[in-house]
């Protein structure tokens, strides 16, 4: 164990001396990096009230179309699973086509159609070649199922079975169970406490009238965000957005999601299978438009968000407990959470939880070092650049800024905020949010005798 200390001290020494001490010749005379170029995003609203974000990218003959609604699992307060079931049934039949014909239409035009659900959003995605024939066919089929789904009763049982199968599989997923427990606690009394994929009891009780009603209320044009990225002209993008918007039902926009109430600290231990334990730590954090988010983003990178983070250094490199421990910030439109997770051998669960708790305590009290702070800010700049190359990443970015009503140059704003930030300011924000008497700890694993931390290479 003692041998760890000289090594750690050495690591700190190289940190302090910084990149200039690197033996790499390519870093020594490198000129400063160019400013981050803004993304050429266009934004407008359709006559029916749908918001549209479009970014042309004409290098590859393909495009992505995403339509997002405020129709996540947090919107089905009385029937758990209704949001997911409605989304899943959209391509099971329309006024013009049966499910098999819809599947065949997408496959014949070689398009990829997908649906995803989170607590706040339901998203339908189309990826297609941009050539006219496949584009026209794929968009037509996509628009049709968005606008005239019939929720045929004879398909409902099949889709319900798919949900039951998924729930059965998730019942053995330590990670899913831990996450559901955390939401259940942090969002007690709030719509986000609803289980993401529903429950067997609630799902079994739903009929097509419930789905149709949920669709009419949530999948309206004024509740829609349309994102287009790829090989499209301005006119083509506008035309596709119009077609989507025209097809959707009319109705009022959904109200903003409520704020969660403050909860106390808690420790949960759930029974798990196998020899591993999954550990999840969670704290309330901030919404996507919160002014504290830039500082917390930097703090998270240092804590467990990148490869040279404190969490990796301690849990993986020093003690060899876990292959891939990490922390992340999740921001919803009106609230958020900060989580930290690791998968370890069950016999080290208690010791690892203590290790992580101590790590959090030190971080909350002392904050990052100057070097960590500087490194993380540098990292963030490049990350923003790297995450705006592929259509897929750009579409995800557009969806986030669109859904949360963030400025079009969100990257520029974030970077500016992070560049202005001082270490002292970051420490203040950290103390405000990394409050350990609100920490929720969830462990999922088998009950086994606990052992002290191993220290490979030590002693």
């Amino acid at each position: 164990m003692n041998r760890c200390f000289p090594l750690l001290a050495f690591a700190l020494l190289t940190l302090i001396s910084g990149a200039s001490a690197s033996a790499l010749t390519s870093l020594q005379a490198a000129p400063p990096l160019s400013p981050l170029p803004p993304l050429p995003i266009q934004a407008w609203q359709t006559a029916q009230g749908a918001r549209v974000l479009f970014m042309p990218s004409r290098h590859l003959p393909m495009f992505d179309l995403q339509v997002t609604f405020a129709a996540g699992s947090g919107r089905n307060t009385s029937a758990f699973g209704l949001a997911g079931l409605t989304l899943s049934m959209l391509d099971e039949g329309t006024r013009s086509h049966a499910a098999e014909q819809i599947a065949e239409a997408f496959d014949a035009s070689a398009a990829r159609f997908d649906k995803t659900l989170d607590r706040e959003r339901a998203t339908l995605t189309l990826r297609s070649l941009s050539r006219q024939a496949p584009r026209e066919a794929a968009v037509a089929q996509f628009v049709e199922l968005l606008g005239e789904p019939t929720f045929p009763p004879d398909r409902l049982a099949l889709v319900q079975d798919q949900f039951f199968n998924r729930l059965q599989a998730l019942a053995t997923s330590d990670k899913y169970r831990a996450s559901e427990q955390l939401y259940h606690h942090l969002y007690a009394g709030h719509p986000f406490a609803a289980p993401l994929h529903g429950t067997v009891e609630h799902l079994a009780g739903l009929d097509v009238a419930d789905l149709s009603d949920f669709y009419q209320r949530h999948f309206s044009a004024s509740n829609a965000l349309i994102v287009l990225v790829g090989d499209l002209s301005d006119a083509q993008a506008r035309q596709i957005a119009e077609r989507v918007s025209n097809a959707l039902p009319q109705g009022p926009a959904q109200s903003a999601m409520a704020l969660p109430t403050r909860q106390d600290a808690e420790i949960y231990q759930l029974d798990g299978l196998g020899n591993q334990a999954h550990l999840l730590f969670g704290l309330p954090a901030v919404a996507a438009d919160d002014p504290d988010l830039p500082a917390l983003t930097v703090a998270n990178l240092i804590l467990g968000g990148n490869v040279s983070s404190r969490l990796i250094e301690q849990v993986r490199n020093r003690h060899g407990l876990s292959y891939d421990p990490y922390s992340e910030l999740t921001s919803h439109s009106t609230s958020g959470l900060w989580t930290l997770q690791a998968n370890v051998e069950a016999r080290y669960q208690q010791a690892t939880m203590e290790l992580i708790h101590n790590l959090l305590e030190t971080f909350a009290n002392e904050g990052p070092t100057e070097q960590e702070f500087d490194d993380a800010r540098q990292y963030l700049r490049g990350t923003l650049l790297l995450n705006a190359v592929s259509n897929e990443d750009i579409a995800r970015h557009l969806r986030d800024i669109g859904f949360n009503h963030l400025p079009l140059d969100q990257r520029g704003h974030l970077l500016e905020a992070v560049q202005k930030l001082t270490l002292d300011q970051l420490k203040v924000v950290l103390k405000k949010h990394l409050v350990l008497d609100r920490l929720v700890q969830v462990g999922v694993g088998p009950t086994v005798a606990q052992e002290p931390l191993p220290s490979p290479g030590g002693e």
């Binding site: 090594l7 050495f10 190289t14 690197s22 033996a23 790499l24 010749t25 390519s26 490198a30 160019s34 990218s57 590859l60 003959p61 393909m62 098999e100 599947a103 997408f106 496959d107 014949a108 035009s109 070689a110 398009a111 990829r112 990826r127 070649l129 099949l158 079975d161 798919q162 039951f164 199968n165 059965q168 053995t172 196998g274 020899n275 591993q276 990148n306 490869v307 993986r316 060899g320 407990l321 876990s322 292959y323 891939d324 998968n343 051998e345 490194d375 540098q378 990292y379 700049r381 490049g382 990350t383 923003l384 650049l385 790297l386 190359v389 259509n391 897929e392 191993p454 490979p456 290479g457």
Partner: protein, 449 residues
């Protein structure tokens, strides 16, 4: 390193999607340094970003019995200290540039990749040359990092019955070749690895004449050539160990493996020994097998999802794979879970899958079906170019398997030429009992009263 992903045969869905040529893609520029290092540059100007991938032609199929996991463990250790970096410093340098780095090992080769702002391309090449020649492989770092390898094995294989079954299935499916060896290594072999074994492995295989450098992004070939010569040019070529492409038996015989797990949904995995593009007598067979895989399971209107998941709700999560790019022989595999809501015995599922394969042997598919499958495969090639790493990974597959890049373009031509009769022909030729390995995951029978 964080988030290394293992690619064992058939495990990664990428492998199927990335396997071939893209006639629409501009041709990469290629050149070879005097020491044998092959450099391939693909221009993509979408953003001032570049990915550089170093491909070393050594993987689990090269490993001797008792030393499985050598290549993968070495991949981990290369980030723990070198001539130019202290342990952990590699990642800190990359992160300060806002870059991301990772590495993965396959049965045939090992890839180290670095994506960063294109203005810092030279840093990637200097770090890459240092990986190839300057590793320290110190005892104390080995002792530490081997724990991360063991943790990776526990977290990604041992804790998942389907992953364990997959490993056992591969060991049966490749009776005669090194493809039986799991990429991460058998647990008892990982425990027995030593720093010396890793050093020897590194000295044997890590040489410029056994490596390729792939660069994709906002850069030009000339610029890369100058920098590659500066950083890799000084490394000497070396004599390499003899290595034969893994070849399998013509008639290995029917094989099975069976494990039980109380909490799993029953699962079936079937694999036929088939040639890859490298080992096929007729390249047309390879294109026909690719098309057959797509026709069976690519898209919701494909045969198996339509017939066995929807019309007759027998199974869930059907998956059909054929990775045509490898230096040796390949597998054509099908897997599925039973539909847990309407559970039928695994034997019923097996019977239904076999019946579908029999239909392909009896009757050629319709022209429309063949067209649909072909269009999806061709579109997949375009979609796979969306990520820079995807483009580089596609090139790395060919380079890592030591196959000519010209075959990428040929593969598209070959795909265009596939007929319904050829699909029937490959089904009859390869989907035989003697080529089949079947793996079962079931729940234990309740004890009889």
């Amino acid at each position: 390193m964080r988030r290394h992903r293992l690619f064992s045969l058939g495990l990664a869905s990428l492998l199927l999607a990335l396997g071939t040529a893209q006639a629409q893609a501009p041709l990469p520029s290629t050149f070879i340094l005097d020491n044998g290092l092959q450099v391939v540059v693909q221009h993509d100007p979408r953003a001032p970003v570049v990915t550089a991938q170093l491909v070393v032609r050594v993987g689990s199929s090269h490993e001797p019995p008792g030393q499985s996991g050598l290549s993968h463990a070495l991949e981990h250790l290369l980030f723990r200290g070198s001539e130019k970096t202290e342990p952990g410093e590699f990642s800190r340098i990359v992160e300060r540039l806002g870059g991301r780095d990772n590495a993965y090992t396959t049965p045939d080769y090992t890839v180290y990749h670095l994506t960063l702002p294109s203005e810092r391309l030279e840093v990637a090449l200097e770090l890459g040359a240092d990986l190839l020649s300057g590793a320290r492989l110190a005892d104390e770092e080995f002792v530490r990092e081997i724990e991360a390898v063991l943790a990776e094995r526990r977290e990604s294989i041992d804790d998942f019955p389907t992953e364990r079954l997959h490993e056992l299935w591969l060991a049966q499916a490749f009776p005669a070749s090194g493809y039986r060896t799991p990429v991460i290594g058998w647990p008892q072999d990982i425990e027995r690895l030593s720093p010396n074994a890793l050093r020897n492995w590194y000295r044997s295989w890590y040489a410029p004449n056994n490596a390729s450098l792939v660069v994709v992004g906002d850069v030009q070939g000339e610029q890369v050539k100058k920098l590659a010569e500066r950083h890799f040019g000084r490394l000497p070529a070396r004599q390499l160990p003899t290595s034969m492409p893994p070849l399998e038996l013509q008639n290995p015989g029917a094989r099975t493996v069976h494990i039980e797990d109380l909490h799993s949904t029953p699962y079936l995995l079937m694999g036929f020994n088939v040639p890859s593009r490298a080992t096929a007598q007729a390249p047309q067979d390879v294109a026909a097998l690719r098309l057959t895989a797509a026709l069976l399971a690519s898209g919701r209107s494909a045969r198996l999802p339509l017939r066995l998941e929807r019309e007759q709700p027998l199974l869930q999560q059907i998956d059909v794979r054929y990775a045509a790019i490898a230096r040796g022989d390949a597998l054509f595999s099908l897997s599925a879970h039973i539909n847990a809501s309407q559970p039928a015995p695994l034997a019923t599922l097996e019977h239904a899958l076999r019946a579908q394969l029999q239909q392909l042997k009896d009757t050629p598919p319709t022209v429309a079906e063949v067209e649909r499958a072909r269009n999806r495969l061709l579109a997949d090639e375009v979609f796979a170019r969306d990520a820079l790493e995807g483009q580089a990974g596609d090139l790395a597959e060919y380079l890592g398997s030591a196959l000519p890049l010209a075959w990428r373009a040929d593969a598209e031509t070959e795909l265009h030429a596939v007929t319904a009769q050829q699909v029937q022909h490959v089904a009859q030729t390869y989907f035989t009992r003697e080529r089949l390995t079947t793996a079962y995951l079931t729940t234990p029978e309740p004890p009889h009263e």
